[in-house]
Symmetry: C2
Subunit: 129 residues, 2 copies
């Protein structure tokens, strides 16, 4: 199966985050997109998402590295649900790293895919049991 174009888009978005190019990073989002920062904490709006990206980078000592694999894209109605295994890690020692089963929603707007919901926590936000 050929790789879905969203895989390369997400790779470029992660690369922007890792290079701390927050203008490029924010540009992957729709104007009224929502980013889940942590369970129970979301931000909506491109400018707020850009600010949150900068705050997260600072929080991790400008040492953050995000990557994903095992992408699965399910398209319906000019919208796509993307599932992926995400690794959020620090580059320098001591290495801290967290694995997540992420869920992203993209919409195709004027021929271009834009992220509308960025929830790297996936169904991990649901109560256990």
């Amino acid at each position: 199966m050929p790789e879905h174009e969203l895989v390369e888009i997400i790779r470029r978005a992660d690369d922007a985050i890792n290079r701390e190019d927050f203008d490029a990073g924010a540009d992957f989002y729709a104007d009224d997109a929502t980013l889940v920062l942590a369970p129970g904490r979301v931000v909506t709006g491109k400018a707020r998402i850009r600010a949150a990206m900068a705050a997260i980078a600072a929080h991790f000592g400008h040492n953050l590295h995000v990557s994903q694999r095992d992408y699965l894209v399910i398209e319906g109605g000019d919208t796509a649900l993307v599932l992926a295994r995400a690794t959020i890690a620090t580059k320098a020692e001591p290495v801290w790293s967290e694995e997540r089963r992420a869920t992203y929603v993209f919409r195709r707007v004027d021929g271009r895919w834009l992220c509308v919901v960025d929830n790297s926590y996936g169904t991990g936000l649901l109560p256990a049991g």
Copy 2:
């Protein structure tokens, strides 16, 4: 927090499935929606989704009961990612039941929410490990 309107919409969709009213059930979907039938098996299009619903009902001996709880709705850009704990069960003895951590994507089209991606398997579709 007041209940999101999508919670009631999903309850009504489940009720339609449980009553085997497949016309009503299919009406919750956008024309080009995608339903994940099983890992690796999807159908796209309202008519195919209606046919799949009828086939699933027959497969379960007209004895299927679906329900959900712990809804979490994340909205962005006239789109919503809904997470929920879903129970798929049979009504008659012997009771068979399966728990899933589901992911649904809805789009607001002309003021009405329509399901565009129905993936009750959530991130369970990703490889383990």
